[in-house]
Amino acid sequence: MANLISEPTPLTVLSPIKNGDDGSQTFASLTRKYLQSLDIHEKSPMAKVPNTFLCRFFVLNDVFFEGSPGKVDHLKSKYLVFCCNFHGDLNTYLREFWQNAQQEAQKIWRHCVAFEQVHDAESFIDYIKKCELNTTIYFNGSTGLPLDEQLKALYLKQEFSQFACEKQGLSAEALFEAFQEFVERTRPADLTGPTWKPGQNTL
């Protein structure tokens, strides 16, 4: 359940990958290969998906054997796992996922069971919900505020820390003026900019 104020929403998705291969590689291997080829940081497709804080994809090949006297378990399918922390409600998030990164979503999930039924945002939402697992325990060590607020805050922290150091010791007049300039330049209330880009890895 989403909390719009400060709790992030956790989403855990296990999508079964079709057994079989394309004539040479298994669908699971192909899925993994595509995931591993994705660009990272600001070029990741997930940077285009609004309000994504942290997320990961991986292919779950199987479960592990802990050794005797444990029993050996094997999964009958391999699963594409998507684990995400975001702001907002699930429907909105997934709709925007589809709207902003449809191509990548189609490539990521293309080898999953029944994904051929997905052809628009609504069917994508339905599909993901079928694959969703409940979170048993969730720990939020950060914040669930909208991503633009977080990124603007990070931008401001960086700029203000520099300002505080640089403008130390100014006269009242000069400080007053410098601060006005700072506010004009950084526009603290304006979430559209200047700010950090999602996934930005350089200053």
Binding site: K157, S161, A164, C165, E166, Q168, G169
Partner: protein
């Protein structure tokens, strides 16, 4: 009394004794290469009788000079240790310090390419030797003895040249010495700070039990008293004994090779004395309390050793330092004097940051608060962790070493002066490397983003250091554009075997199967 379970006779003396502070102010560090397995074994067999152990000196006359040895991964390989044994050593040790430069932050002027020539070759250094002595004469005498043993190898063991001293860059050893004032050795380094005040105190070390205060691990008791501290587990510093996570530390095989041994980090750190003084003088013009207060805020102690937490003003710190020095002199002559000295010693070590959570006395980013957080990583939240030192008890290092060189011209950064820094612990990665990377060159654990240790950080001239304020009228002060005060000039990782292990290496008895 030392713990019965610990065989100090088998442990090398430099692990349990900081010689520099035990009346051995002169030191020489020498590096060797083995060109032949047999010759190498013979050399260390010959050295065995000279090696100083951890046996308490109260039992006999202290020697006039000490000798200790340690090996690099390459050294152990050239002494013929089996592959299985070699592979059982930790990765950072087998890689060596240069290969870890990115983790250690040895970049720019601290890059391995800038180090003394002796460090330039790969797989070059095999053995380390330290000689500490009461006098230069004793040092020379011991050194000559070593030279005689070396001659026996007919050139199959060589002493490596390539240390710089300002004039030459091919010296056959690294000389180090306490800084002498009026003919007496002092505990200060070239920036003028008293050094090595709180060294870790562990079970069985045989040291003065009072050293547990500030040197042990924090309990929830009063940090000014013995109840506020407990000795750290032996296994944090010596292999083969239980450590802070209630197990035997990871160690190379066979057990007899690692038992009573440990790892040691050697680093030659150049101190840019002019840069340091220019900086504190310059910033001190704007900071209340002036340059001396800036120097204190960077370290967390006044340069005379008084901790900011207990002595927030310079007047208090100076008065204390005078009293302390007087007591130290009287301690040798009367029981009353000794008692007073011990009381005062606790004022240098018996504190934590529990009453200074916002850093208004000792800044959050000050050197001592980083290097030894004294349980403050709970940030004042009572019982947040199973034990207050949960995040720092496994990051402690025994610090050894002495200053080197002289400051002949305080108006220049050139010349050769700094400290030979040695860090001892059972895991270089978990202890030294962690502290260096996460606490010296980064600040997240202290909620300081990327702020670095003001004194030791690998600054690039863009960092700032914040001195927290104490009230709305006394806001934080920002030390801008900190230059790099300390640069790395060389270093390596070593394994310090126990005496039995050295003998077994010499006798080719190491068998991991």
């Amino acid at each position: 009394m030392p713990d019965q379970h610990i065989d100090l006779n088998d442990i090398q003396g430099n692990i349990v004794k900081a010689y520099g502070r035990f009346g051995y102010p002169k030191a020489r560090y020498i590096f060797f290469q083995f060109h032949d397995v047999e010759a190498g074994r013979n050399f260390i067999r010959d050295l065995l009788p000279l090696i100083t152990t951890g046996r308490p000196w109260c039992k006999d006359q202290p020697p006039s000079a000490t000798t200790n040895i340690a090996f690099t991964y390459q050294g152990l390989k050239h002494l013929g240790l089996p592959t299985k044994t070699l592979h059982s050593f930790p990765e950072e040790f087998s890689m060596g310090m240069k290969a870890r430069a990115d983790i250690l932050g040895d970049d720019g002027e601290s890059s391995p390419t800038e180090w003394d020539p002796i460090w330039h070759h790969d797989k070059y250094i095999h053995m380390f030797m330290s000689i500490n002595a009461k006098s230069l004469e004793a040092l020379e005498e011991r050194y000559k003895k070593i030279q005689d043993l070396l001659k026996k190898s007919s050139g199959l063991v060589t002493q490596l040249r390539g240390h710089r001293d300002g004039q030459r860059d091919d010296l056959p050893y690294q000389e180090a010495s306490a800084i002498f004032v009026d003919g007496k050795p002092t505990p200060t380094e070239h920036f003028g700070y008293q050094d090595g005040i709180s060294d870790p105190y562990f079970k069985g070390s045989g040291g003065n039990p009072l050293n547990v205060v500030g040197g042990g691990k924090p309990t929830r008791g009063d940090p000014a008293t013995l109840q506020g501290w407990e000795p750290l587990e032996t296994g944090e510093f010596i292999l083969g004994y239980p450590d802070e996570t209630k197990e035997l530390p990871i160690a190379p095989v066979p057990t007899l090779l690692s038992f009573n041994g440990t790892f040691m980090v050697y680093r030659k750190l150049h101190e840019k004395v002019k840069t340091f003084h220019d900086y504190i003088n310059n910033v001190g013009k704007d900071f209340p309390g002036g340059p001396e207060a800036v120097a204190a805020k960077m370290a967390g102690r006044w340069r005379n050793g008084a901790p900011l937490v207990l002595f927030p003003t310079r007047e208090e710190a100076n008065a204390f330092a005078q009293e302390y020095e007087k007591a130290r002199e009287l301690a040798a002559t009367s029981a009353k004097g000794k008692k007073r000295y011990e009381e005062l010693r606790l004022k240098r070590t018996g504190f934590n940051f529990g009453n200074d959570l916002a850093g208004s006395r000792c800044p959050m980013g000050a050197h001592i608060r980083r290097a030894n957080p004294r349980g403050c990583l709970e940030f004042g939240i009572k019982d947040a962790f199973a034990t207050p030192g949960a995040l720092d008890n496994r990051r402690r290092i025994l610090r050894r070493g002495l200053p080197y060189g002289e400051v002949t011209n305080p108006l220049s950064d050139d010349g050769e002066h700094g400290v030979i820094f040695m860090a001892i612990g059972t895991s270089i990665e978990r202890q030294f490397e962690f502290v260096q990377q996460q606490w010296i060159n980064y600040g997240n654990d202290f909620k300081l983003s990327n702020q670095k240790d003001p004194l030791l950080g690998n600054h690039d001239g863009k960092d700032m250091f914040m001195i927290e304020g104490g009230s709305p009228d006394n806001p934080p002060f920002f030390c801008p554009e900190i230059p790099r005060f300390v640069t790395t000039r060389g270093g390596e990782y070593f394994f310090v075997p126990g005496l039995t292990a050295i003998r077994m290496i010499a006798d080719n008895l190491i068998d991991p199967t």
